[in-house]
Symmetry: D2
Subunit: 328 residues, 4 copies
C-alpha cells in the first residue's frame, strides 16, 4: 500500500486525490496547499490529514508525492521530494524554463528516485490504442502525424500571462504526444500563430491559434493544430498515416444518441473538457505510477520525457518569434 502525499489541492489536485483514494494499492495520507482551507477540505473528503509541503516531504512514512502545485514550484518540489526519497508524479510541465528543467533532471538523476511526468493523454484509451496499433506495425512504416487539439474556451488573461505561453502551457501535451507516437524528437520546429480568438491574448504576448510543423530525420513530418476555442467542446484527435494505412483516434462524444429531423442528423458533442474526456486517463496514469513504484520498474513517462516536450515547446516559441523554422 503506497502512502501518498498530495501537494496542491486545486482542480487537478482534486482529480488526483480521487484517483489515489480509489486505487487499491495507494492511500492518500496528507494534502498540502498554499490555500490551507482547500487542503483541509480535500483531505477531509478522503480521510487524509491537511499538512504542509515540508511536513509531507519530512514524513518518512510517506512513499510518494503527487505534485499538483503551480508550475513555477515543480522543479523545486521534484528535487526536494526525490532528495527526501519519495517517488514523484508531477503534473506537466516540468518547468517554464528548459534550463531549469534540465538542472532538475540532473539533480534527480543523482537521487535515483523515480519521477514520472503527468502527460495524462498517453493513458487515454483511444490514443493508447492508436499507439499500440502503430507499434504492432498495423499501418506499416509511419510517415505523417496530425494532432488536433482545441480547448473549449480560452483561459482568463491573468492565467495566460503566467502560463509560459500556448506552446509551454497547452501544446506541450501535443508535443509529448508527438514524441510518444513518433518515438523520437523532431529535428526542426516551425510555428505559426495568431491571437484571432481574443486580441487580449495577443496583447498579453501570447497566441490562441497555432499550427506547428515538426520534421524528423528520416523524412517523417508531424503537424499540430491548437486553438483555445472550439465552442462545441474539447476537440482531441490524432491521425497517423503510414505506408500501409491510417490510424485515427476520434473524439469521445457525450453520448451515442442521434436525432434525425427535418434539419439534419444531430449527435452529441465531444466531452466538454479535460476532466470529462481524460478522467479514465488520470486513473490509468495513477495506476501505471503505482505499479511502477511498487514493482520497482521504470515509470512509463520519465522526467526526460518532460524535458523533451519542453525542449520542443521552447523551440516552437522561438520559431514563432523568429518567423522561421528552428532546430531542436
Amino acid at each position: 500500500m503506497l502512502k501518498v502525499g498530495l501537494l496542491g489541492a486545486g482542480r487537478i489536485g482534486a482529480v488526483h486525490a480521487k484517483a489515489i483514494s480509489s486505487h487499491p494499492g495507494s492511500r492518500l495520507v496528507a494534502v498540502s496547499d498554499v490555500n490551507a482551507d482547500a487542503a483541509s477540505m480535500l483531505a477531509a473528503k478522503y480521510g487524509a490529514r491537511a499538512s504542509s509541503n515540508h511536513e509531507i516531504l519530512d514524513d518518512v512514512s510517506i512513499d510518494a508525492v503527487l505534485v499538483a502545485t503551480s508550475t513555477n514550484t515543480h522543479s523545486d518540489l521534484i528535487e526536494a521530494a526525490t532528495r527526501a526519497g519519495k517517488a514523484v508524479l508531477c503534473e506537466k510541465p516540468v518547468d517554464l524554463s528548459l534550463a531549469r528543467a534540465r538542472a532538475c533532471l540532473k539533480a534527480v538523476g543523482a537521487t535515483g528516485r523515480p519521477v514520472m511526468i503527468g502527460f495524462n493523454r498517453r493513458f487515454d484509451p483511444n490514443f493508447a490504442a492508436l499507439k499500440a496499433a502503430a507499434d504492432r506495425g498495423e499501418i506499416g512504416k509511419t510517415e505523417l502525424l496530425s494532432i488536433t487539439s482545441f480547448d473549449p474556451a480560452p483561459p482568463p488573461i491573468p492565467y495566460v500571462k503566467v502560463s509560459g505561453g500556448l506552446f509551454r502551457d497547452m501544446m506541450i501535451h501535443d508535443f509529448d504526444m508527438a514524441n510518444f507516437i513518433m518515438g523520437e524528437l523532431p529535428k526542426t520546429v516551425y510555428a505559426s500563430g495568431s491571437s484571432i480568438v481574443d486580441p487580449d491574448i495577443g496583447a498579453a504576448g501570447d497566441v490562441d491559434t497555432a499550427v506547428v510543423t515538426l520534421t524528423y530525420g528520416n523524412g517523417r513530418i508531424a503537424v499540430i493544430k491548437n486553438s483555445r476555442r472550439a465552442v462545441y467542446g474539447y476537440d482531441q484527435r490524432v491521425e497517423l498515416l503510414g505506408s500501409d494505412g491510417l490510424l485515427s483516434a476520434a473524439n469521445v462524444l457525450e453520448n451515442t444518441v442521434s436525432k434525425s429531423t427535418r434539419g439534419g442528423v444531430t449527435s452529441a458533442k465531444p466531452e466538454l473538457f479535460f476532466l470529462e474526456r481524460y478522467m479514465r486517463a488520470y486513473v490509468a496514469e495513477w495506476d501505471a505510477f503505482v505499479s511502477a513504484v511498487i514493482d520497482n520498474k521504470a515509470v512509463p513517462i520519465t522526467l526526460q520525457d518532460g524535458v523533451d516536450a519542453l525542449a520542443v515547446a521552447e523551440a516552437a516559441t522561438a520559431s514563432l518569434k523568429a518567423g522561421t523554422p528552428v532546430p531542436i
Copy 2:
C-alpha cells in the same frame, strides 16, 4: 443495340427513359402513355417517337419493352408483350391480385420470353454489397434479418385507395428484399399495423405504420418496419445477424459535411426519396436487364420473384385483418 419501347411516361417512366438512353447497349425508340402529351414530351427529350401500347407491341423492330404504367395494367401488358416476342422489364408489383399474377406467370411461361420485375433495390450498391458479403459467408450462417423502410411522407389519399394497401404497394419492396437476402420464402407472416401517421389513411382502409415478422423453416426470422412518414428523409436500412457477425447497410446521406456547434454535431439527412437514393440502382437494374437479354441469360429478378413478393404481401394483408400469423 436493344431497341426499347417504354410504356408509361410518368415519374418512374422518365427515370427509365434516361437509363435506357444513357446505356450504350440500348436505345429508346418509342414512348406511350394514357396522357399523350406526357408521351410526346418524354419521347422528344430522348429522340424517340410518341406512340401507343399497341403500336409498340406490334412493332417487330422493337426488342424489349419497359412497363411503367399503372399497376392494374401490368399483367395484361406483360402477357401481351411476351406474346409479341418482346423481352420485358416491368415495374413492381406484378399485380394487386396474387391469382392474376400467377395466371400471368403461367401465360408468360408458355412464351419463353424473359420477364424481369423492377425490384430496383436489389441493385442498390449498398444492399447488393450486403447480400454479396452474406453469400460469401462473411457472417457465417444467417439468422435474423431486419429491414427498416420509411418513406419521407405519406402519399395522397386517392393514391392510397387504389394502391392495394401498404403491404402490396410499399412493403412489397421489403418482402422482395427479404426473399432476396434469405434466399427462400418465409413459412409464416405476422403483421401489425396502424394508421397513427394519418387517420385518413385508416379511413381509407389502409395502415401507415407496420411491423411484419417473417419466420422461416430453419428457425431464421426476419422483421420489417414500415412507416409512411420519416420527416428526415427516406430511411432505407438493412441489418443481417449471423453466427459470425452482423452486416449493416446504413442510409446514404446527402453529403458528408458535419457541423459542430454549441448545439451538437449535425450531419446531412438521408437522401430525400427513391429518385435520389436509388438512381444508381435504376441504372444498374437496366444494365442487368440489357446484359441478360443480349447475352440470352436468365434475368436476375424473375416474374416468379414478383409473384413471390406478392404472395408475402397478400399473407401480410390477411394477417393484419385476422390478427394472427398466416402461413404462406
Copy 3:
C-alpha cells in the same frame, strides 16, 4: 450516510458493492451469500462484515438492503426486508412467477417501504438521453419503437434451464425499456422465436433468438429483437420514430480508433458485455436509489414497474407457445 447490507456476493453483487462503497452517501456494512467465502472476501474488500440474510435484516442500524441473490429468492427477501423496515433495491426480475410478484407487490404495499427494481439500463446515459429528448417532445408524437438487444454469447445450458426462459431472463430488460419509453403497458404481445444459435437451448425448452411485437392502444407499435449471440460484442441499441423525427441510441464502442487499410476502415467493437457497457448505469442507479431514500422521495423504478415488465414477459412466453398474439 445510508448503511447498506448486500444480499448476494456474486458477479453482480460485486458490481453493487463497489457502487455502494464509492458513493459518498452510502456505506457497505454487511455482506451475505450462500457461499460464505464469497461473502467474506467481498466484505473484506470494502471494510464490511460478512453476515447472513437474517442478521442483516435484523440489524436495525442497517437502512437499506441490496438484493442480488438468485431470482427465486427475490420476492421473499423483498417482503422480509420491507417488513424489517429496510429500503430495498432488488435486481431484476422480481420473480419468475407473475402471481408471486403480484403478491409481493401487495405485501410490500402494506409496509410502506420503498422498493426499487434494478432495471439498470434506464440509467444508461444514452438511453436516458433518448428518453429525455422524447419527453421534451423533440421528435413530436412517438409512433414506433425498436429495441435491438443481443448478448455476446449464450449462457450455459444449466443456467438456461433455471432462467425462466429468454423472455423473463433477458428480454425483460427490453420490456422494461419499452414500458419506460412508451410510458404505458402494451395491449398485445406477439412473440416469434427459435433456437437457431444453439439447438441445446431448444432442447432445454428455451429460444435464443426472438422477435416480439408490442401494440399499444393508440396505434403505437414496438418491436424487440433478441439474440443470445452477437460475436462482435454486446449490441444494445434503441430507436424511436416520431412525427417529427427519429431518436437513435447507438452502441458504445471500446474506443474511438479506426484503422483504414487496403481491407477497409475498421473501428472498435461495442463494449463486450453488461459489466463494461453498463458500469456507469449501475453507479447512476445506485445514486438514484440513495437520493430517493435519503430525500424520502419516490424511487424512480418501482416494484410495480418490475411486475409490469414481468407481465409482458409472461405474455410473450404464452404467445410463443400459442403461436398467436396474446393480450396483456
Copy 4:
C-alpha cells in the same frame, strides 16, 4: 446548344467528353489529340468528329473548347482559343510557369472571352456544402482551415519528372481550395516535405509527402497535408474552424455497409481516386461553365483563380527549397 470542341482525348478528356455529351445544353462536335487514334475513338463514342487543334479553333461554328491536353500546352491553347473567340474551360494548372500564366491572363483579358479553370473540387457537393455553410456564417468568423489530400498511389517517375512538382501538380488543387474557402490569397507560405513514400521521387527532385502552412493578414491560418500514398483510397477532407463551430467534410465511402465481427466493425473504404470521387463534380463543373457561357455571366472559377493557385504553388516550391517561409 453550345457546340464544343475537346482538345485532348486522354483519361480526363474522356471524363469531360461524357459530361459534355450528357449535358442537355451542350454537344460535343470535335475531338483532337496528339494521338489521332485516341481522338477518333473518343469522338466516335459520342458521335463527334476527330479533328485537330487548329481545325477546331478555326471552326467558327464551335462555341467553346475544353482544354484537356498536357499542361505545357495550356497557356498557348487558352490564348489561341480566346483569340478565336471561343469560351474556354481549361484543366488545371494554367501553366507550370507563373510568369507564363500571368502573360496568358493578360492576353486573354484583351480578348474579353470567358476562361474557366477546371478546379473541379469546388463543385464536389461536400466541399461546396461546406463553403456555402461557411458563407452563410454558420460557424461565425472563420479562423483555421485544414485540408487533407492524399492520393491512393504515387504516379510513375516519368510523370513526376515533368509534373512541375507536387505543389504545382497535386497540391495546387488544395491551394485553390484554400483560396476558395478563405476568399483571399495567403500572405506567407511555409512548406515542409520529404520523399518518404518513394526515394525515387526524391531522386527525381520532388517530394511525395508535404505539409504547407498558409498565413493570412487577419491572423487566419490554413494547413494542407499531402501524401502521394494512402493505400486505403483517395483521402479528401476539409475542416474549417470558426468562432461558432467547426465544419467538416468527410470522405465519400464506396458504400454504406459495415460488418461487425470478432475483429471489429469494418466499413467500406473511401472512393478509390478522382474519377470515382469527383465524377459528380466534373458534371457540375461543366454545367456551371455551360450556364455561365449561355447566360453570358462570369464563370465561377476564373483564369485569375488559376494564376492565384499557381502563385501559391510557386511560393511553396520556393519555401521548400529555402527552408523558410516565403511571402506571396
